[in-house]
């Protein structure tokens, strides 16, 4: 990966130093059911830039409207697994609300499918 905003990771160090540092030792998301299209939105109007680390603030700044984990990873230029860990922390801090897609895809939601069909027909 490219090292993102601050390019302090030298090539020798490999691509993992920065993401590992960003999660500050957290190795996996506490909320294991986060996935690439889990939608995340800030829970509060104000961002607490004083107590929250810069990486959390960066996520909150993007989440004033619902964004998926994949979009956050793309915008912040970090791997998906790192965003999952940080978002998981933010959920525990009650800074964001997250919504997963329908849990069981084998129980299809006809209303949702119809809304998707109407939507793509209107494209």
């Amino acid at each position: 990966m490219t090292a993102g905003r601050d390019n302090w990771v030298d090539d020798e160090a490999g691509p993992l130093v920065r993401p590992y540092a960003m999660t500050r030792g957290r190795t996996r998301p506490a909320n294991s059911d986060l996935n690439m299209i889990t939608l995340v939105v800030a829970a509060k109007d104000e961002i607490d830039t004083v107590t929250l680390d810069a990486d959390y603030v960066a996520i909150l700044e993007l989440c004033h409207q619902p964004l998926s984990i994949a979009e956050l990873a793309a915008r912040l230029d970090v791997p998906i697994v790192v965003v999952k860990i940080l978002v998981s922390d933010l959920i525990d801090l009650r800074e964001v609300i997250a919504r997963n897609p329908t849990r069981d895809v084998r129980v299809p939601d006809m209303k949702l499918l119809q809304a998707v069909l109407d939507g793509v027909r209107r494209l």
Partner: protein, 194 residues
């Protein structure tokens, strides 16, 4: 806590765009997406195994797998994400996460090398992910009729198959409509609402 209840949050749905190397996946995502296709990365160990735990990762050799995707806000309640699937076989772990919760898939078939879409077809058949085949008509490629392509791909008679131009928004849109209609038609109670 991750909510899946019916609060004011929109819901996300996902459609996969699959096919062999250079089949036009990114092009199709871009043709219908409201944002320029975005690219994101996931970590992968040298052995081709996905990383869902960073413990000890400093000591492992890793690479990344790039995924591109687009977004279509269908209405205030529903956001559709289109994900291009990574081509190479060693990224299968990524396909599992991609397929999880996917509404369905478009398999782009490039008639210059039809066999490159076989792994996608096999994967979706095994996972029970509904898919349609979009035959991407590249310039200079021999034209086959759809019947020949269906025979060559050996897919069931109910699997929709259509010609498309992945660069063209209308054409890409038609493919998505075909897919969602097909997904709906497979639901037991579909008739009433179609």
């Amino acid at each position: 806590m991750v909510s899946d209840g019916s609060d004011e949050m929109p819901r996300a749905v996902k459609i996969l765009i699959a096919g062999g190397f250079g089949a036009g996946k990114t092009t199709m995502v871009g043709a219908v997406s409201e944002i320029a296709p975005m690219s994101t990365e996931e970590l992968l160990t040298e052995a081709g195994v996905g990383v869902d735990d960073l413990a000890g990762i400093e000591n492992k050799r890793t690479t990344t797998v790039a995924l591109d995707f687009g977004r279509i806000t269908l209405n205030q309640q529903v956001i559709l994400y289109l994900f291009g699937t990574p081509g190479q076989g060693r990224f299968w772990f990524m396909w599992d996460e991609l397929a999880f919760g996917a509404l369905g898939a478009v398999v782009l078939a490039d008639t210059r090398r039809l066999e490159t879409c076989f792994p996608s077809i096999d994967f979706f058949e095994k996972r029970g992910v509904p898919f349609v085949i979009a035959v991407n008509c590249f310039d200079g490629a021999t034209r086959y009729d759809l019947k020949e392509v269906r025979e060559a791909l050996d897919v069931g008679p109910d699997v929709p198959l259509a010609m498309c131009d992945a660069r063209d928004r209308e054409s890409a849109k038609e493919v998505l409509v075909t897919l969602v209609e097909y997904v709906l038609s497979k639901q037991p109670l579909a008739r009433a609402t179609m």
